[in-house]
Protein backbone atom coordinates (compact mmCIF):
# COMPACT_ATOMS: atom_id res chain seq x y z
CA UNK A 1 0.00 0.00 0.00
CA UNK A 2 1.42 3.38 -0.90
CA UNK A 3 -0.03 5.04 2.24
CA UNK A 4 2.07 3.05 4.64
CA UNK A 5 5.44 4.22 3.34
CA UNK A 6 5.54 7.40 5.40
CA UNK A 7 6.02 7.04 9.13
CA UNK A 8 3.45 9.78 9.82
CA UNK A 9 0.65 7.99 8.02
CA UNK A 10 1.63 4.76 9.65
CA UNK A 11 0.91 6.20 13.07
CA UNK A 12 -2.42 7.59 11.95
CA UNK A 13 -3.58 4.20 10.72
CA UNK A 14 -6.66 3.18 12.65
CA UNK A 15 -6.74 -0.29 11.15
CA UNK A 16 -3.99 -2.18 9.39
CA UNK A 17 -4.02 -5.58 7.79
CA UNK A 18 -0.51 -7.04 7.29
CA UNK A 19 -0.75 -9.85 4.72
CA UNK A 20 -3.85 -11.14 6.44
CA UNK A 21 -5.27 -14.38 5.07
CA UNK A 22 -8.13 -16.53 6.21
CA UNK A 23 -8.89 -20.19 5.58
CA UNK A 24 -11.98 -22.07 6.59
CA UNK A 25 -12.29 -25.77 7.09
CA UNK A 26 -15.42 -27.16 5.53
CA UNK A 27 -16.15 -30.89 5.58
CA UNK A 28 -12.49 -31.64 6.14
CA UNK A 29 -11.36 -29.53 3.20
CA UNK A 30 -9.50 -26.29 3.68
CA UNK A 31 -11.02 -23.43 1.73
CA UNK A 32 -9.08 -20.24 1.18
CA UNK A 33 -11.56 -17.42 1.78
CA UNK A 34 -9.09 -14.59 1.71
CA UNK A 35 -5.66 -14.55 0.11
CA UNK A 36 -3.16 -12.55 2.12
CA UNK A 37 -4.12 -8.87 1.77
CA UNK A 38 -2.55 -5.62 2.89
CA UNK A 39 -4.79 -2.71 3.73
CA UNK A 40 -4.60 0.30 5.95
CA UNK A 41 -7.46 2.48 7.04
CA UNK A 42 -6.71 5.97 8.29
CA UNK A 43 -8.47 7.50 11.26
CA UNK A 44 -11.82 9.03 10.25
CA UNK A 45 -11.59 7.52 6.82
CA UNK A 46 -14.65 6.06 5.12
CA UNK A 47 -13.60 2.98 3.18
CA UNK A 48 -15.89 0.92 1.01
CA UNK A 49 -15.02 -2.68 0.20
CA UNK A 50 -16.62 -3.66 -3.09
CA UNK A 51 -16.59 -6.98 -4.87
CA UNK A 52 -18.58 -10.02 -5.89
CA UNK A 53 -20.09 -12.23 -3.22
CA UNK A 54 -17.70 -14.68 -1.61
CA UNK A 55 -14.66 -12.44 -2.08
CA UNK A 56 -13.87 -12.26 1.64
CA UNK A 57 -15.17 -8.74 2.29
CA UNK A 58 -17.25 -9.85 5.27
CA UNK A 59 -14.34 -11.95 6.50
CA UNK A 60 -12.27 -8.77 6.77
CA UNK A 61 -14.93 -7.17 8.97
CA UNK A 62 -15.07 -10.24 11.19
CA UNK A 63 -11.29 -10.18 11.52
CA UNK A 64 -11.23 -6.49 12.44
CA UNK A 65 -14.04 -7.08 14.94
CA UNK A 66 -11.96 -9.89 16.43
CA UNK A 67 -14.79 -12.39 16.05
CA UNK A 68 -12.40 -14.81 14.33
CA UNK A 69 -8.61 -15.09 14.25
CA UNK A 70 -6.64 -14.60 11.05
CA UNK A 71 -5.06 -17.71 9.56
CA UNK A 72 -1.97 -15.75 8.60
CA UNK A 73 -0.66 -12.23 8.97
CA UNK A 74 -1.61 -9.61 11.55
CA UNK A 75 -4.65 -7.41 12.10
CA UNK A 76 -3.65 -4.21 13.88
CA UNK A 77 -6.03 -1.75 15.48
CA UNK A 78 -4.46 1.49 16.70
CA UNK A 79 -1.14 -0.25 16.17
CA UNK A 80 -1.91 -3.17 18.50
CA UNK A 81 -2.84 -6.66 17.31
CA UNK A 82 -6.52 -7.52 17.61
CA UNK A 83 -6.78 -10.38 20.09
CA UNK A 84 -10.30 -11.39 20.95
CA UNK A 85 -13.40 -9.29 20.52
CA UNK A 86 -12.56 -5.72 19.54
CA UNK A 87 -14.73 -3.50 21.71
CA UNK A 88 -13.69 -0.27 20.02
CA UNK A 89 -15.79 -1.06 16.95
CA UNK A 90 -19.51 -1.07 16.31
CA UNK A 91 -20.57 -3.76 13.89
CA UNK A 92 -23.72 -3.74 11.79
CA UNK A 93 -24.09 -7.13 10.19
CA UNK A 94 -26.13 -8.04 7.14
CA UNK A 95 -28.71 -9.66 9.34
CA UNK A 96 -29.90 -7.25 11.98
CA UNK A 97 -29.37 -8.61 15.47
CA UNK A 98 -32.12 -6.69 17.24
CA UNK A 99 -33.44 -8.66 20.20
CA UNK A 100 -37.00 -9.69 19.26
CA UNK A 101 -38.33 -9.43 22.82
CA UNK A 102 -37.27 -5.81 23.21
CA UNK A 103 -39.16 -2.93 21.64
CA UNK A 104 -37.38 -0.31 19.55
CA UNK A 105 -36.46 1.98 22.44
CA UNK A 106 -35.23 -0.91 24.60
CA UNK A 107 -33.18 -2.30 21.72
CA UNK A 108 -31.58 1.07 21.03
CA UNK A 109 -30.80 1.52 24.73
CA UNK A 110 -29.16 -1.82 25.33
CA UNK A 111 -25.54 -0.64 25.03
CA UNK A 112 -26.22 2.06 27.63
CA UNK A 113 -27.48 -0.55 30.10
CA UNK A 114 -24.11 -2.26 30.28
CA UNK A 115 -21.88 -1.73 33.30
CA UNK A 116 -19.03 -0.49 31.15
CA UNK A 117 -20.98 2.68 30.39
CA UNK A 118 -23.38 2.85 33.30
CA UNK A 119 -25.34 6.10 33.37
CA UNK A 120 -28.42 7.48 35.12
CA UNK A 121 -31.66 6.22 33.60
CA UNK A 122 -32.82 9.70 32.68
CA UNK A 123 -29.63 10.35 30.69
CA UNK A 124 -30.00 7.07 28.85
CA UNK A 125 -33.66 7.82 28.08
CA UNK A 126 -32.74 11.23 26.72
CA UNK A 127 -30.04 9.80 24.47
CA UNK A 128 -32.35 7.05 23.25
CA UNK A 129 -35.04 9.59 22.34
CA UNK A 130 -32.47 11.73 20.56
CA UNK A 131 -31.03 8.79 18.64
CA UNK A 132 -34.45 7.50 17.63
CA UNK A 133 -35.31 10.95 16.33
CA UNK A 134 -32.05 11.09 14.37
CA UNK A 135 -32.84 7.90 12.49
CA UNK A 136 -36.46 8.92 11.99
CA UNK A 137 -38.15 6.29 14.13
CA UNK A 138 -40.28 8.61 16.28
CA UNK A 139 -43.62 7.00 17.04
CA UNK A 140 -42.22 3.47 16.84
CA UNK A 141 -40.50 3.37 20.24
CA UNK A 142 -42.82 0.72 21.65
CA UNK A 143 -43.00 -1.45 18.55
CA UNK A 144 -41.33 -4.85 18.62
CA UNK A 145 -38.93 -5.74 15.78
CA UNK A 146 -41.57 -8.08 14.34
CA UNK A 147 -43.81 -5.05 13.93
CA UNK A 148 -41.24 -2.98 12.03
CA UNK A 149 -40.58 -2.97 8.29
CA UNK A 150 -37.18 -3.99 6.96
CA UNK A 151 -36.07 -0.38 6.62
CA UNK A 152 -37.15 0.50 10.13
CA UNK A 153 -35.28 -2.47 11.53
CA UNK A 154 -32.14 -1.27 9.77
CA UNK A 155 -32.59 2.18 11.26
CA UNK A 156 -33.14 0.72 14.70
CA UNK A 157 -29.99 -1.37 14.29
CA UNK A 158 -28.05 1.70 13.16
CA UNK A 159 -29.34 3.70 16.12
CA UNK A 160 -28.43 0.90 18.49
CA UNK A 161 -24.87 0.86 17.15
CA UNK A 162 -24.34 4.62 16.98
CA UNK A 163 -25.79 5.40 20.41
CA UNK A 164 -22.67 4.24 22.23
CA UNK A 165 -20.44 6.18 19.85
CA UNK A 166 -17.94 3.54 18.82
CA UNK A 167 -14.98 5.21 17.12
CA UNK A 168 -15.08 2.75 14.25
CA UNK A 169 -18.10 1.41 12.43
CA UNK A 170 -18.04 -1.86 10.50
CA UNK A 171 -20.97 -2.33 8.15
CA UNK A 172 -21.72 -5.43 6.13
CA UNK A 173 -24.18 -4.62 3.34
CA UNK A 174 -26.42 -3.00 5.89
CA UNK A 175 -28.89 -1.65 3.37
CA UNK A 176 -28.73 -4.44 0.81
CA UNK A 177 -32.33 -5.50 1.19
CA UNK A 178 -33.85 -2.00 1.02
CA UNK A 179 -35.53 -0.43 -2.00
CA UNK A 180 -33.58 2.20 -3.93
CA UNK A 181 -35.28 5.30 -2.50
CA UNK A 182 -35.14 4.15 1.10
CA UNK A 183 -31.51 3.21 0.61
CA UNK A 184 -30.70 6.81 -0.37
CA UNK A 185 -32.40 8.12 2.76
CA UNK A 186 -30.37 5.69 4.86
CA UNK A 187 -27.13 6.63 3.10
CA UNK A 188 -27.84 10.29 3.78
CA UNK A 189 -28.40 9.58 7.46
CA UNK A 190 -25.31 7.43 7.60
CA UNK A 191 -23.13 10.09 5.99
CA UNK A 192 -24.42 12.77 8.34
CA UNK A 193 -24.10 10.67 11.50
CA UNK A 194 -20.66 9.23 10.78
CA UNK A 195 -19.12 12.48 9.49
CA UNK A 196 -20.51 14.49 12.44
CA UNK A 197 -18.99 12.01 14.81
CA UNK A 198 -15.74 11.72 12.86
CA UNK A 199 -15.97 7.96 12.78
CA UNK A 200 -13.77 5.56 10.88
CA UNK A 201 -15.96 3.40 8.67
CA UNK A 202 -15.38 0.11 6.89
CA UNK A 203 -18.36 -0.40 4.64
CA UNK A 204 -18.90 -3.63 2.71
CA UNK A 205 -21.21 -3.48 -0.27
CA UNK A 206 -21.67 -4.86 -3.74
CA UNK A 207 -23.38 -1.66 -4.87
CA UNK A 208 -20.81 0.49 -6.64
CA UNK A 209 -22.98 3.64 -6.65
CA UNK A 210 -23.47 3.34 -2.89
CA UNK A 211 -19.70 3.04 -2.43
CA UNK A 212 -18.88 6.07 -4.61
CA UNK A 213 -21.53 8.14 -2.86
CA UNK A 214 -20.10 7.57 0.60
CA UNK A 215 -16.46 6.55 0.49
CA UNK A 216 -13.13 8.34 0.65
CA UNK A 217 -11.51 5.27 -0.81
CA UNK A 218 -12.88 2.22 -2.53
CA UNK A 219 -11.15 -1.13 -2.35
CA UNK A 220 -12.16 -3.46 -5.15
CA UNK A 221 -11.92 -7.18 -4.48
CA UNK A 222 -11.86 -10.06 -6.89
CA UNK A 223 -13.57 -13.24 -5.95
CA UNK A 224 -12.68 -16.71 -4.80
CA UNK A 225 -10.32 -16.71 -3.16
CA UNK A 226 -10.71 -13.06 -2.22
CA UNK A 227 -7.87 -10.65 -2.92
CA UNK A 228 -7.56 -6.91 -3.44
CA UNK A 229 -7.68 -5.96 -7.08
CA UNK A 230 -7.27 -2.21 -6.83
CA UNK A 231 -7.73 0.78 -4.52
CA UNK A 232 -9.22 4.08 -5.67
CA UNK A 233 -9.39 7.50 -4.06
CA UNK A 234 -12.80 9.11 -4.38
CA UNK A 235 -12.05 12.81 -4.31
CA UNK A 236 -15.62 14.06 -4.52
CA UNK A 237 -16.02 17.05 -2.18
CA UNK A 238 -17.83 16.68 1.13
CA UNK A 239 -20.48 16.98 2.31
CA UNK A 240 -22.01 15.09 -0.56
CA UNK A 241 -25.59 15.38 -1.69
CA UNK A 242 -26.50 11.73 -1.54
CA UNK A 243 -29.62 12.24 -3.62
CA UNK A 244 -28.10 14.20 -6.50
CA UNK A 245 -24.44 13.28 -6.62
CA UNK A 246 -25.17 10.39 -8.98
CA UNK A 247 -26.16 12.86 -11.70
CA UNK A 248 -22.81 14.67 -11.70
CA UNK A 249 -20.20 14.03 -14.43
CA UNK A 250 -17.51 13.19 -11.83
CA UNK A 251 -19.72 10.49 -10.43
CA UNK A 252 -20.42 9.08 -13.89
CA UNK A 253 -16.70 9.04 -14.68
CA UNK A 254 -15.82 7.19 -11.45
CA UNK A 255 -18.70 4.83 -11.88
CA UNK A 256 -17.58 3.86 -15.35
CA UNK A 257 -13.94 3.54 -14.39
CA UNK A 258 -14.67 1.36 -11.37
CA UNK A 259 -17.22 -0.71 -13.22
CA UNK A 260 -14.55 -1.62 -15.77
CA UNK A 261 -12.47 -2.97 -12.88
CA UNK A 262 -15.33 -4.84 -11.38
CA UNK A 263 -17.25 -6.29 -14.26
CA UNK A 264 -15.10 -9.31 -15.15
CA UNK A 265 -15.36 -10.61 -11.62
CA UNK A 266 -19.04 -9.84 -11.31
CA UNK A 267 -19.80 -11.66 -14.52
CA UNK A 268 -17.57 -14.55 -13.53
CA UNK A 269 -19.15 -14.59 -10.07
CA UNK A 270 -22.67 -14.63 -11.50
CA UNK A 271 -21.77 -17.61 -13.67
CA UNK A 272 -20.86 -19.82 -10.69
Amino acid sequence: MPDTTMAGTLLADKIRLDSVGKNFRMRGKIIEALQPVDLSVRTEEFIALVGPSGCGKSTILNLVAGLMPASSGRVLYDGAPVAGVNRRVGYMTQKDTLLPWRNTADNVRIALELNCRAMPKADAARRVAQMIAQVGLCGFETHFPAELSGGMRKRAALARTLIYQPETLLMDEPFGALDAQLKLVMLDQLQRLTRDRRMTVLFVTHDLAEAITLADRIVIFSGRPGRIRSVHDIDLPRPRDVFRIRFTPEFARLNEQLWDELQDDVIAGAAT
Partner: protein, 244 residues
Protein backbone atom coordinates in the same frame (compact mmCIF):
# COMPACT_ATOMS: atom_id res chain seq x y z
CA UNK B 1 -71.41 -25.80 21.07
CA UNK B 2 -75.08 -26.66 21.43
CA UNK B 3 -74.41 -30.22 20.36
CA UNK B 4 -71.54 -30.51 22.80
CA UNK B 5 -73.75 -29.36 25.68
CA UNK B 6 -76.48 -31.74 24.51
CA UNK B 7 -74.01 -34.62 24.46
CA UNK B 8 -72.81 -33.76 27.96
CA UNK B 9 -76.37 -33.60 29.30
CA UNK B 10 -77.24 -36.88 27.61
CA UNK B 11 -74.19 -38.63 29.10
CA UNK B 12 -74.96 -37.32 32.58
CA UNK B 13 -78.60 -38.36 32.25
CA UNK B 14 -77.59 -41.84 31.13
CA UNK B 15 -75.18 -42.10 34.07
CA UNK B 16 -77.93 -40.99 36.47
CA UNK B 17 -80.38 -43.55 35.05
CA UNK B 18 -77.88 -46.38 35.26
CA UNK B 19 -76.93 -45.34 38.80
CA UNK B 20 -80.56 -45.32 39.96
CA UNK B 21 -81.41 -48.67 38.38
CA UNK B 22 -79.02 -51.01 40.11
CA UNK B 23 -75.83 -50.00 38.41
CA UNK B 24 -74.00 -51.60 41.25
CA UNK B 25 -71.77 -50.17 43.99
CA UNK B 26 -69.15 -48.57 41.79
CA UNK B 27 -71.26 -46.36 39.54
CA UNK B 28 -72.62 -43.69 41.88
CA UNK B 29 -74.79 -40.93 40.39
CA UNK B 30 -74.12 -37.42 39.13
CA UNK B 31 -76.72 -36.04 41.52
CA UNK B 32 -74.97 -37.60 44.53
CA UNK B 33 -71.59 -36.38 43.34
CA UNK B 34 -72.96 -32.87 42.86
CA UNK B 35 -74.43 -32.87 46.35
CA UNK B 36 -71.13 -34.12 47.81
CA UNK B 37 -69.13 -31.46 46.05
CA UNK B 38 -71.59 -28.77 47.13
CA UNK B 39 -71.30 -29.96 50.74
CA UNK B 40 -67.48 -29.87 50.50
CA UNK B 41 -67.38 -26.38 49.15
CA UNK B 42 -69.52 -25.24 52.06
CA UNK B 43 -66.34 -25.59 54.11
CA UNK B 44 -64.49 -28.88 54.66
CA UNK B 45 -62.75 -28.99 51.25
CA UNK B 46 -60.70 -25.79 51.68
CA UNK B 47 -57.93 -27.08 53.97
CA UNK B 48 -57.39 -30.00 51.59
CA UNK B 49 -57.47 -27.83 48.50
CA UNK B 50 -55.05 -25.35 50.06
CA UNK B 51 -52.69 -28.12 51.17
CA UNK B 52 -52.55 -29.57 47.68
CA UNK B 53 -52.13 -26.18 46.04
CA UNK B 54 -49.43 -25.20 48.51
CA UNK B 55 -47.45 -28.40 47.92
CA UNK B 56 -47.85 -27.99 44.18
CA UNK B 57 -46.80 -24.35 44.06
CA UNK B 58 -43.93 -24.69 46.52
CA UNK B 59 -42.60 -27.75 44.71
CA UNK B 60 -42.92 -26.15 41.30
CA UNK B 61 -41.30 -22.91 42.39
CA UNK B 62 -38.27 -24.71 43.80
CA UNK B 63 -38.08 -27.19 40.92
CA UNK B 64 -38.46 -24.51 38.24
CA UNK B 65 -35.91 -22.17 39.78
CA UNK B 66 -33.26 -24.87 40.18
CA UNK B 67 -34.06 -26.50 36.84
CA UNK B 68 -33.88 -23.25 34.89
CA UNK B 69 -30.66 -22.14 36.56
CA UNK B 70 -28.98 -25.51 36.05
CA UNK B 71 -30.25 -25.80 32.47
CA UNK B 72 -29.10 -22.34 31.42
CA UNK B 73 -25.76 -22.66 33.19
CA UNK B 74 -24.95 -26.06 31.69
CA UNK B 75 -26.25 -24.90 28.32
CA UNK B 76 -23.54 -22.25 28.33
CA UNK B 77 -20.86 -24.63 29.63
CA UNK B 78 -20.80 -27.46 27.07
CA UNK B 79 -17.73 -29.13 28.56
CA UNK B 80 -19.32 -29.46 32.00
CA UNK B 81 -22.59 -30.54 30.39
CA UNK B 82 -20.81 -33.38 28.59
CA UNK B 83 -19.33 -34.59 31.88
CA UNK B 84 -22.61 -34.43 33.78
CA UNK B 85 -24.82 -35.76 31.02
CA UNK B 86 -24.76 -39.46 32.02
CA UNK B 87 -25.48 -38.57 35.64
CA UNK B 88 -28.46 -36.43 34.71
CA UNK B 89 -29.86 -38.88 32.18
CA UNK B 90 -29.39 -41.67 34.72
CA UNK B 91 -31.25 -39.79 37.43
CA UNK B 92 -34.00 -38.86 35.03
CA UNK B 93 -34.40 -42.49 33.97
CA UNK B 94 -35.66 -43.40 37.45
CA UNK B 95 -39.45 -43.02 37.43
CA UNK B 96 -39.49 -40.11 39.83
CA UNK B 97 -42.89 -40.87 41.30
CA UNK B 98 -41.35 -44.14 42.48
CA UNK B 99 -39.21 -42.06 44.82
CA UNK B 100 -42.29 -41.02 46.80
CA UNK B 101 -41.93 -43.77 49.47
CA UNK B 102 -38.29 -42.82 49.89
CA UNK B 103 -39.12 -39.14 50.36
CA UNK B 104 -41.84 -40.05 52.86
CA UNK B 105 -39.26 -42.01 54.87
CA UNK B 106 -36.85 -39.10 54.71
CA UNK B 107 -39.22 -36.24 55.30
CA UNK B 108 -42.20 -37.62 57.22
CA UNK B 109 -45.90 -37.29 56.58
CA UNK B 110 -46.21 -33.52 56.21
CA UNK B 111 -46.01 -31.34 53.13
CA UNK B 112 -42.23 -31.63 52.75
CA UNK B 113 -41.98 -35.02 50.99
CA UNK B 114 -44.61 -33.93 48.43
CA UNK B 115 -42.83 -30.65 47.83
CA UNK B 116 -39.57 -32.50 47.27
CA UNK B 117 -41.27 -34.94 44.91
CA UNK B 118 -42.93 -32.18 42.87
CA UNK B 119 -39.69 -30.20 42.85
CA UNK B 120 -37.68 -33.12 41.51
CA UNK B 121 -40.22 -33.87 38.75
CA UNK B 122 -40.35 -30.20 37.75
CA UNK B 123 -36.60 -29.81 38.02
CA UNK B 124 -35.85 -32.30 35.27
CA UNK B 125 -38.50 -31.05 32.85
CA UNK B 126 -37.37 -27.47 33.26
CA UNK B 127 -33.74 -28.46 33.17
CA UNK B 128 -34.09 -30.14 29.78
CA UNK B 129 -36.19 -27.36 28.33
CA UNK B 130 -33.96 -24.49 29.39
CA UNK B 131 -30.86 -26.48 28.44
CA UNK B 132 -32.27 -26.91 24.93
CA UNK B 133 -33.26 -23.24 24.84
CA UNK B 134 -29.83 -21.95 25.79
CA UNK B 135 -28.22 -24.13 23.12
CA UNK B 136 -30.29 -22.44 20.44
CA UNK B 137 -29.08 -18.93 21.16
CA UNK B 138 -28.39 -16.79 18.10
CA UNK B 139 -24.59 -16.38 18.20
CA UNK B 140 -24.85 -13.14 16.19
CA UNK B 141 -26.89 -11.57 18.99
CA UNK B 142 -24.27 -12.68 21.50
CA UNK B 143 -21.47 -11.28 19.32
CA UNK B 144 -23.31 -7.97 18.96
CA UNK B 145 -23.51 -7.55 22.73
CA UNK B 146 -19.94 -8.66 23.23
CA UNK B 147 -18.76 -5.99 20.79
CA UNK B 148 -20.69 -3.42 22.84
CA UNK B 149 -18.60 -4.46 25.83
CA UNK B 150 -21.03 -6.74 27.65
CA UNK B 151 -19.60 -9.08 30.26
CA UNK B 152 -20.43 -12.78 30.20
CA UNK B 153 -22.98 -12.22 32.91
CA UNK B 154 -24.61 -9.35 31.02
CA UNK B 155 -24.82 -11.49 27.89
CA UNK B 156 -26.42 -14.19 29.98
CA UNK B 157 -28.94 -11.80 31.47
CA UNK B 158 -29.79 -9.84 28.36
CA UNK B 159 -29.62 -12.46 25.63
CA UNK B 160 -29.40 -16.03 26.90
CA UNK B 161 -32.05 -15.83 29.63
CA UNK B 162 -34.73 -13.95 27.65
CA UNK B 163 -34.09 -16.01 24.52
CA UNK B 164 -34.64 -19.12 26.61
CA UNK B 165 -37.98 -17.91 28.01
CA UNK B 166 -39.82 -19.43 25.06
CA UNK B 167 -38.48 -22.82 26.08
CA UNK B 168 -38.88 -22.24 29.79
CA UNK B 169 -42.51 -21.23 29.41
CA UNK B 170 -43.14 -24.32 27.29
CA UNK B 171 -41.39 -26.41 29.93
CA UNK B 172 -43.56 -25.04 32.74
CA UNK B 173 -46.66 -25.76 30.69
CA UNK B 174 -45.63 -29.38 30.30
CA UNK B 175 -44.51 -29.62 33.94
CA UNK B 176 -47.85 -28.42 35.41
CA UNK B 177 -49.83 -31.66 34.90
CA UNK B 178 -46.82 -33.77 35.91
CA UNK B 179 -46.50 -31.70 39.08
CA UNK B 180 -50.17 -32.24 39.89
CA UNK B 181 -49.72 -35.99 39.39
CA UNK B 182 -46.70 -35.94 41.69
CA UNK B 183 -48.54 -33.99 44.39
CA UNK B 184 -51.55 -36.30 44.42
CA UNK B 185 -49.38 -39.41 44.25
CA UNK B 186 -47.46 -38.23 47.27
CA UNK B 187 -50.69 -37.55 49.13
CA UNK B 188 -52.16 -40.93 48.20
CA UNK B 189 -49.31 -42.77 49.86
CA UNK B 190 -49.26 -41.18 53.26
CA UNK B 191 -50.69 -37.98 54.50
CA UNK B 192 -53.26 -36.27 56.66
CA UNK B 193 -54.51 -33.63 54.27
CA UNK B 194 -54.84 -32.80 50.61
CA UNK B 195 -56.97 -33.91 47.71
CA UNK B 196 -54.95 -37.13 47.41
CA UNK B 197 -55.77 -37.86 51.04
CA UNK B 198 -59.50 -37.38 50.34
CA UNK B 199 -59.12 -39.69 47.37
CA UNK B 200 -57.45 -42.50 49.32
CA UNK B 201 -59.94 -42.09 52.18
CA UNK B 202 -62.86 -42.34 49.76
CA UNK B 203 -61.31 -45.42 48.21
CA UNK B 204 -60.86 -47.14 51.55
CA UNK B 205 -64.47 -46.46 52.48
CA UNK B 206 -65.92 -47.41 49.07
CA UNK B 207 -67.40 -43.91 49.01
CA UNK B 208 -67.89 -43.66 45.26
CA UNK B 209 -69.54 -40.22 45.24
CA UNK B 210 -66.53 -38.73 47.07
CA UNK B 211 -64.12 -40.57 44.83
CA UNK B 212 -65.67 -39.23 41.64
CA UNK B 213 -66.05 -35.85 43.31
CA UNK B 214 -62.32 -35.56 44.03
CA UNK B 215 -61.48 -36.72 40.52
CA UNK B 216 -63.75 -34.04 39.11
CA UNK B 217 -62.16 -31.37 41.30
CA UNK B 218 -58.68 -32.51 40.22
CA UNK B 219 -59.71 -32.33 36.59
CA UNK B 220 -61.04 -28.81 36.96
CA UNK B 221 -57.95 -27.81 38.93
CA UNK B 222 -55.71 -29.12 36.16
CA UNK B 223 -57.68 -27.27 33.52
CA UNK B 224 -57.64 -24.02 35.49
CA UNK B 225 -53.89 -24.21 36.08
CA UNK B 226 -53.13 -24.83 32.44
CA UNK B 227 -55.51 -22.07 31.33
CA UNK B 228 -53.97 -19.62 33.79
CA UNK B 229 -50.50 -20.46 32.54
CA UNK B 230 -51.60 -20.00 28.93
CA UNK B 231 -52.58 -16.44 29.80
CA UNK B 232 -49.23 -15.78 31.43
CA UNK B 233 -47.59 -17.19 28.31
CA UNK B 234 -49.55 -14.93 25.98
CA UNK B 235 -48.50 -11.96 28.05
CA UNK B 236 -44.81 -12.87 28.38
CA UNK B 237 -44.43 -13.81 24.74
CA UNK B 238 -46.46 -10.96 23.31
CA UNK B 239 -43.46 -9.93 21.19
CA UNK B 240 -43.84 -13.20 19.32
CA UNK B 241 -47.45 -12.61 18.49
CA UNK B 242 -46.73 -9.09 17.36
CA UNK B 243 -47.13 -8.81 13.64
CA UNK B 244 -46.95 -5.77 11.45
Amino acid sequence: MIWQIALGVALLAAWEVIGRNGGGNFVSRPSLIALRIAAWFAGPIYPHLLTTLFELMAGMTIGCALGILAGLALGRAPALAAVLQPVIIGMYSVPLVALAPLFIMFFGLGALPKIVLVASVTFFLLFFHSFAGSRRIDQDQVDALELMGATRFEIFRKVVAPASTVWIIGGIKIALPYALVATVTGELLATRAGLGFLLSQAGEQYDMASLYGVLLILMVLGLLLSEAWSRVETHLLRWRHANA
